[in-house]
């Protein structure tokens, strides 16, 4: 995890992570509104087996293990599978949403651990390997990784802008959205796609375990402010972008500071700061 000669990539890493942080914060606003924090946690952990499979497939196909597009596709595939399995599991008698989340997490992260141990026992050493995927490392990402994650985050941002009104409607007043005749299920799928895009964009820099924090913590901090949904989402995006940038800089400055941890702790500091704001009834979910 020590920072190698980085130089020219620093600015790209900073730019890519800032875009990722902004998207994560904005998407997080709607995830909190829809009460999907646990689903984001599962999706983050569940990208691990997909990334490992993509690594193995890349090696087998001769594309190299760390082909960024392959890793993104693999991570997204298993994260999607996990997100789909949670509602299916929670319909089983006596399981409930809590049990469903724990089961999906144990299965996908468990398979990920097995695949990771298999990859590590065969590692040539020349490959960077996948060790940094757990806690994230901006220093270990290649130029191609950064281009891929920035592109994905930008597409997610555009999608979010396009469906902003619909997402706001189902996140904060679902009954009203239904009365208006909005296709709630379809909009929910858009939100799921955004969630998964954010998870896989962030997994290499923030790590699969802590990427969830970059979605929910800035969004929770932003709810301390007053204003319209648009303004709250913009504040969440700003906090996310700032925390991600701070995380990258801190982890490059202090070698032993994993990027994911640095980003998470920066966002947590913002959240704690938001608790000092004057109290009022917060927007969205009543307690």
């Amino acid at each position: 995890m020590s920072a190698p000669a980085f130089g020219a990539n620093t600015q790209l890493a900073l730019a890519g992570c800032t875009v990722f942080g902004a998207v994560a914060g904005a998407v997080g606003t709607f995830i909190l509104g829809r009460r999907r924090a646990l689903l984001a946690d599962v999706a983050g952990h569940a990208s691990l087996p997909g990334v490992c499979l993509a690594f193995l497939a890349g090696e087998a196909l001769g594309l190299g293990g760390r082909n960024p597009w392959l890793l993104l596709a693999g991570g997204a595939a298993t994260a999607l599978l996990a997100a789909w399995s949670v509602p299916a599991l929670s319909r089983l008698r006596g399981v409930g949403s809590d049990g469903a989340v724990a089961t999906a997490l144990a299965f996908f992260f468990g398979v990920g651990a097995v695949l990771l141990s298999s990859i590590q026992s065969h590692e040539s050493g020349a490959q960077g390997g996948l060790r940094t995927i757990i806690f994230g490392s901006a220093a270990a990402t290649s130029r191609a990784d950064l281009v891929a994650l920035t592109a994905l985050a930008a597409v997610a941002a555009a999608t979010l802008a396009l469906f902003f009104k619909e997402l706001a409607a189902i996140s904060f007043d679902e009954p009203h959205a239904r009365v208006l005749g909005l296709p709630v299920r379809a909009i929910d799928l858009v939100l799921l796609a955004l969630l998964i895009a954010t998870v896989v964009a962030g997994m290499q820099v923030a790590g699969v375990v802590l990427v969830v924090a970059m979605m929910i913590t800035p969004a929770a901090a932003a709810r301390g402010f007053r204003g319209s949904i648009g303004r709250i989402a913009a504040i969440a995006a700003a906090i996310g972008a700032g925390s991600a940038a701070a995380g990258v800089l801190l982890s490059l400055r202090f070698e032993s500071f994993p990027t994911g941890s640095a980003m998470t702790l920066s966002a947590t500091a913002c959240f704690l700061g938001s608790l000092l704001l004057p109290q009022r009834r917060r927007r969205g979910v009543p307690s």
């Binding site: 724990a102 065969h122 924090a213 929910i216 994993p258 994911g260 640095a262 947590t268």
Partner: protein, 297 residues
């Protein structure tokens, strides 16, 4: 035979003891729909564990245990304060607090040179089962050669079973009708906090040996596997231990010996294999129940 005694037996013993400690208490958690509380505690104890090591200056079990307990219980209290103060849903409040604690712990682990403690960020998640072995002592009773983790796990398993037996009445009231339990006095105010403390102790004891991933699986999955097949509490406990035990043994055997049988090098993550098997058994067990009950009597 000697190979089994030195390498396989201690790992199996540790995993099975962790199963007893976690799944006994996990049954109560699942009944109360709080399976993810265990997940949060399993992540949140990390900074306390490392802090205990730093304060004691060496690998001291009591110091690390105390630190981890403070962090685990502290995280739960903090999450409930955050939930009220920021008016968040419980899962989001828990998520914010436990990711912050975990990030802090991972940073401490990397920066304080705690690497010498056979604790690294990866074995925090996936456990250090593979590094455990039994050294038969030259003289004296054979058990003296058992790895240190076995003794902590044994104590935690005993505490979990004793709590479940002694507080069965109170915990049952709390699990099935919390409102009535509170009003009627069937579950005194201390029931919740006491069971939280015992759960935290069981998680900490298991955490170091089997890692947070397997702790989460052991807390939730055996209880969920047993749930559709029995309506009695006693049956739930017995079935979850039996099914969990069988899957643990199979999972370990697959992880340790499948690569050799397939002719490849190395071993697979035992914690990951056991967790994945336990989780996969949950929907299978429900499907089995559905098939059995559809068959005409």
């Amino acid at each position: 035979m000697r190979e089994f005694l030195v390498f396989d037996l201690p790992v199996l013993a540790a995993a099975l003891l962790a199963l007893v400690a976690c799944s006994t208490l996990g049954n109560w958690l699942v009944l109360r729909r709080e399976a993810m509380t265990g997940d949060a505690i399993a992540h949140a104890v990390l900074p306390g564990l490392v802090g205990g090591f730093v304060v004691a200056g060496r690998h001291s079990v009591p110091a690390m245990f105390a630190g981890a307990a403070v962090a685990g219980v502290g995280a739960i209290l903090l999450a409930s304060w955050v939930r009220r103060r920021a008016r968040l849903e419980p899962a989001a409040a828990l998520g914010i607090v436990f990711t912050a604690f975990f990030a802090l712990g991972a940073t401490m682990l990397e920066s304080l040179g705690a690497r010498q403690v056979d604790l690294d960020p990866e074995c925090v998640l996936f456990g250090s089962l593979e590094r455990m072995f039994f050294v038969p002592p030259a003289e004296g009773p054979l058990l003296l050669g058992a790895p240190r983790e076995i003794w902590t796990l044994l104590a935690a398993a005993a505490a979990a079973v004793l709590t479940s037996i002694l507080l069965a009445k109170e915990l049952r009231a709390l699990a099935f009708d919390p409102e009535f339990a509170r009003v009627s006095g069937a579950a005194p105010r201390w029931t919740g906090p006491v069971s939280l403390c015992v759960t935290t102790v069981a998680i900490i004891a298991s955490f170091e040996a089997v890692g947070s991933l397997l702790v989460i699986a052991l807390l939730a999955c055996p209880a969920l596997i047993a749930a559709p097949h029995t309506s009695s509490l006693r049956g739930r406990f017995a079935l979850s231990l039996a099914a969990g035990g069988a899957l643990t043994v199979v999972g370990y055997a697959l992880a340790a010996h499948a690569p050799t049988l397939l002719g490849t090098r190395g071993a697979l993550s035992a914690a990951g294999m056991i967790a994945a098997l336990l989780a996969a058994a949950v929907p299978l067990s429900h499907a089995m129940r559905a098939v059995l009950s559809r068959r005409p009597a």
